[in-house]
C-alpha cells in the first residue's frame, strides 16, 4: 500500500464499509457485543497506592476480605456472596443451554451469583447456580411464579446499557422449538421483546409492583432494579423511592445479544459517567451501602473491579468478559470466524446463531463444542483472578476489605475522566466542574 495514502478520521474504513453495506442492503446493521467506540473508562483512572501517609497491607498474607451482602434493606434472605463480581443477565435463547450451565457452574465455584435473562429460567441454570437472580423483564417471556419462588433474588429490568429504551431482540434462527416453547412464540419468528413493562408505568406504579413481587414471594427475596445508564442520578433516586433493595446500573459498554449498531453506539452514557451519579443519589438519600449498587458495562480486570468499588459500587457484574472466559472469540476458531466474515477478536454477530465457540447459538452441533464443566472451570479461574487482582490493589492502598477502597484512592489521567469520576486530575487537586 502507498505509504502516502491518508485515511479519513471522519470516514474511516469501518464507516465507509457501513455506508456501502447500508446502500447494498437497505437494512440497518444488527449485531451483538456492546459499544466498540473509544470511551472514557476505568483505564483513565489510577490508584495512588500507599505512601508516607498511607500504610499498605502485605500483599500475600494479610487479610483483605471480598464478600458482599446484597439485599439487606427489606429482604428476609439477602444474598451473601464471596466476591463482589456477579454474572449479568443473559438469556437462554441468546446463549446456548450449555453456556448458561457453564455460567452457573463458574459463578457457583467462585462463590457468586448468576442471572437469568429474557426467556425464563432453565433447569440447567437453576441446577448449577447456587445463587440465581431471576430477571423480571418487560416481555415476561417464560415468567412463571414457581420459578420466581425458586430464585434467590429478583431483578426488575427497566433497561440495559447497550440499548436503554429498547427491548430485546432474538432473530428467527435462534428461536428453536425449545426457545419458542419457553417464550410462547411461533418457531422461527424474529422476536422483538417489549421495551416497556405491560402493567406499570412510572416510578409510582413501580412501587406497587415491587410490593406485589414481595407479597408473592413472602418478602424473602432481594429485589433489584436494573437501569441502562442514561439519567442515572434520577433513575437511582426513583428506584430507591420505589423500594429497591439493590440498584443495578449498566453503562453503554454493557453487551447485548442483538441490537441495532446505531443504538449500541449512540444511546446511553459510559459506565464511568454513570457510577458517580448513582453514588451521589444514594448518598443524598442516606442509603449508600444500605441499598447496594451493582455496576456493569466494560468490567474486564481486577483493576476495573477495584476502581468501580472505590467509586462507590458494592459489586460489579460481567457479561461480555464472562463469555470471553468461556471461549468466545478464541483464536482456535479464527478460521471459522473468518468464514463468517469476521475474525477472532472481532466476532460480534451473536444474533446469527452461528457462533463457532458454541456460546451464542441454539445450533445443537455448535453448542456441543462448549463443555459446561470445562467452561465453568475457565470462568471460575477468571473470577478468581479478577478478585485477586482487586485484592492486590486494595492491599497496596492499605485496605482490609475491598469495600474500604474510596474515591480518595484514585486520580484521573484525563480531564474528561476526572470530571466524570469526580476525582482529581493526576498531579493536581483539580476536579473539573467541582474545584477551581
Amino acid at each position: 500500500m502507498n505509504e502516502g495514502l491518508r485515511e479519513s478520521a471522519t470516514f474511516d474504513r469501518a464507516t465507509i464499509h457501513a455506508i456501502q453495506r447500508a446502500a447494498a442492503t437497505g437494512v440497518y446493521d444488527i449485531r451483538g457485543w456492546g459499544a466498540k467506540r473509544r470511551l472514557p473508562h476505568f483505564d483513565d483512572l489510577l490508584f495512588l497506592g500507599a505512601s508516607m501517609s498511607r500504610y499498605p497491607l502485605e500483599g500475600y498474607r494479610e487479610r483483605c476480605d471480598t464478600d458482599v451482602v446484597l439485599g439487606t434493606r427489606h429482604a428476609r434472605h439477602p444474598l451473601h456472596l464471596d466476591i463482589p463480581v456477579t454474572i449479568a443477565g443473559m438469556s437462554f435463547g441468546a446463549l446456548s443451554a450449555n453456556a448458561k450451565e457453564a455460567l452457573g457452574r463458574g459463578a457457583t465455584a467462585a462463590g457468586t451469583s448468576t442471572t437469568t435473562g429474557d426467556g425464563g429460567m432453565t433447569p440447567e441454570e437453576r441446577g448449577q447456580s447456587r445463587h440465581l437472580v431471576y430477571q423480571y423483564l418487560p416481555s415476561r417471556y417464560g415468567m412463571n411464579p414457581d420459578d420466581l419462588r425458586k430464585a434467590d433474588a429478583i431483578e426488575i429490568v427497566l433497561g440495559q446499557g447497550a440499548k436503554p429504551g429498547g427491548g430485546g431482540m432474538l432473530l428467527g434462527q435462534k428461536v428453536t422449538d425449545r426457545v419458542a416453547g419457553m417464550r410462547t412464540l411461533p418457531v422461527g419468528v424474529d422476536q422483538r421483546s417489549a421495551c416497556r413493562h405491560p402493567d406499570w408505568t412510572g416510578p409510582d406504579d413501580l412501587t406497587i409492583k415491587i410490593v406485589e413481587l414481595r407479597e408473592i414471594t413472602d418478602w424473602e427475596k432481594p429485589i433489584y432494579v436494573k437501569v441502562g445508564a442514561t439519567r442515572t442520578y434520577y433513575d437511582v433516586k426513583l428506584a430507591v423511592h420505589a423500594g429497591a433493595d439493590v440498584v443495578v446500573v449498566d453503562g453503554m459498554q454493557g453487551g447485548t445479544a442483538a441490537t441495532q449498531e446505531v443504538f449500541i453506539e449512540h444511546v446511553g452514557i459510559p459506565t464511568l459517567a454513570a457510577l458517580p451519579q448513582a453514588v451521589q443519589a444514594l448518598q443524598e438519600l442516606g442509603v449508600h451501602r444500605k441499598v447496594q449498587l451493582i455496576v456493569s458495562g466494560g468490567i474486564r480486570t481486577g483493576a476495573d473491579v477495584a476502581k468501580a468499588i472505590a467509586l462507590g459500587a458494592d459489586a460489579v457484574a460481567i457479561g461480555t468478559a464472562a463469555l470471553i472466559a468461556l471461549g468466545d472469540n478464541h483464536p482456535r476458531y479464527d478460521a471459522e470466524y473468518r468464514a463468517l466474515g469476521s475474525a477472532a477478536g472481532f466476532f460480534d454477530d451473536f444474533q446469527d446463531g452461528r457462533d463457532p465457540a458454541g456460546i451464542t447459538t441454539q445450533d445443537d452441533e455448535l453448542a456441543d463444542r462448549l463443555d459446561p464443566e470445562e467452561g465453568g472451570r475457565r470462568l471460575a479461574n477468571y473470577l478468581r483472578v479478577l478478585t485477586m487482582e482487586a485484592q492486590t490493589i486494595a492491599r497496596a492502598c492499605g485496605k482490609a476489605h475491598l469495600h474500604h477502597l474510596e474515591p480518595e484512592d484514585l486520580v484521573a489521567l484525563t480531564i474528561e475522566s476526572a470530571a466524570m469520576a469526580r476525582v482529581p486530575l493526576a498531579g493536581t487537586d483539580w476536579i473539573p466542574g467541582r474545584t477551581r
Binding site: R140, N144, L148, P198, D199, I208, E212
Partner: protein, 224 residues
C-alpha cells in the same frame, strides 16, 4: 361451613396473603373492606375460593395458580397479571392491563376493561362483558380475548397468535392485526368461552381478529 372471613380494615394485606400462602390454608375465604388495597390475594398456588367484597387496587390475584378469586367491585391496574391457571371474576370494571402477560386460566370482567386489556397475553382466556380500551391485546402471543362490547383504538397491535373476538365496533386495528373469517371451529370455541364466562351472548354476532403475520420477520417494509 362458613368461609374464613378477613376484614382488611383491621388486618394488613400482608397477613392475608401469608395466610393464603400457608401450606394448608382454609378452602373458602371472604375478604371485607378491601378499600382499594394493592396486591390482594396475589401469588396463590392452591384451588382456594376467595371472594372479595368491594373495590381492589393494583395486581389483585396477580400470578394466580388454581384459585378462584371473585371481586364484588371494581379492580385496579393489572388484575390477574401473569395468571397461570384458575379463574378470576370481576363483577365491576377494571383499570388498564387486565390479564397482562397471563399464561393461562380464565379472567372474566363483567363490566368494562380499560386500556391494554390482555397486553402480551400468553395463553389466558379473557372474556369482557362490556368494552375494552385502546391497545388491548397488544403483542398478544396466545390465548383468546372476547369482547362483548366495543374495542378502542389499535386493537391487537403487533399481535402474535392470540385470537380476538369482538361483538361491537372496533375503533381501529393496530399494526398487523386483521379481521379473519369466522369458521365453525371459531364459533364453537367462542361458544365455549362465553359459556365458561356465564354470558348469554350469540357467538354468531361476533367478528374475529388475528395476526396477519407480516411483522414476524425483519424486512425493510416493516418500518411503520
Amino acid at each position: 361451613m362458613d368461609p374464613m372471613t378477613v376484614d382488611l380494615a383491621a388486618t394488613p394485606v400482608r397477613d392475608l396473603n401469608q395466610a393464603l400462602h400457608a401450606p394448608e390454608p382454609e378452602q373458602r375465604w371472604r375478604v371485607r373492606n378491601p378499600r382499594g388495597a394493592h396486591a390482594i390475594a396475589c401469588g396463590l398456588t392452591r384451588p382456594l375460593s376467595v371472594e372479595i367484597d368491594g373495590h381492589v387496587g393494583y395486581y389483585c390475584a396477580g400470578m394466580n395458580q388454581h384459585a378462584a378469586v371473585t371481586v364484588n367491585g371494581n379492580a385496579g391496574v393489572g388484575v390477574a397479571e401473569n395468571m397461570m391457571s384458575g379463574t378470576v371474576r370481576i363483577r365491576g370494571n377494571t383499570s388498564q392491563s387486565a390479564g397482562a402477560t397471563a399464561h393461562g386460566g380464565l379472567l372474566v370482567i363483567e363490566g368494562d376493561a380499560a386500556a391494554r386489556c390482555g397486553i402480551s397475553m400468553k395463553g389466558v382466556d379473557i372474556v369482557v362483558g362490556g368494552d375494552v380500551g385502546h391497545m388491548s391485546a397488544f403483542m398478544g402471543q396466545a390465548g383468546r380475548l372476547v369482547v362483548c362490547g366495543d374495542a378502542g383504538d389499535a386493537l391487537g397491535d403487533s399481535l402474535y397468535e392470540a385470537r380476538l373476538y369482538v361483538k361491537g365496533a372496533v375503533k381501529s386495528l393496530g399494526a398487523d392485526c386483521v379481521e379473519k373469517p369466522m369458521r365453525d371451529e371459531h364459533l364453537t370455541e367462542l361458544a365455549g368461552l362465553l359459556k365458561a364466562a356465564e354470558f348469554d351472548e350469540d357467538p354468531a354476532a361476533f367478528r374475529r381478529y388475528g395476526s396477519a403475520r407480516r411483522l414476524y420477520h425483519f424486512k425493510i417494509d416493516n418500518a411503520y
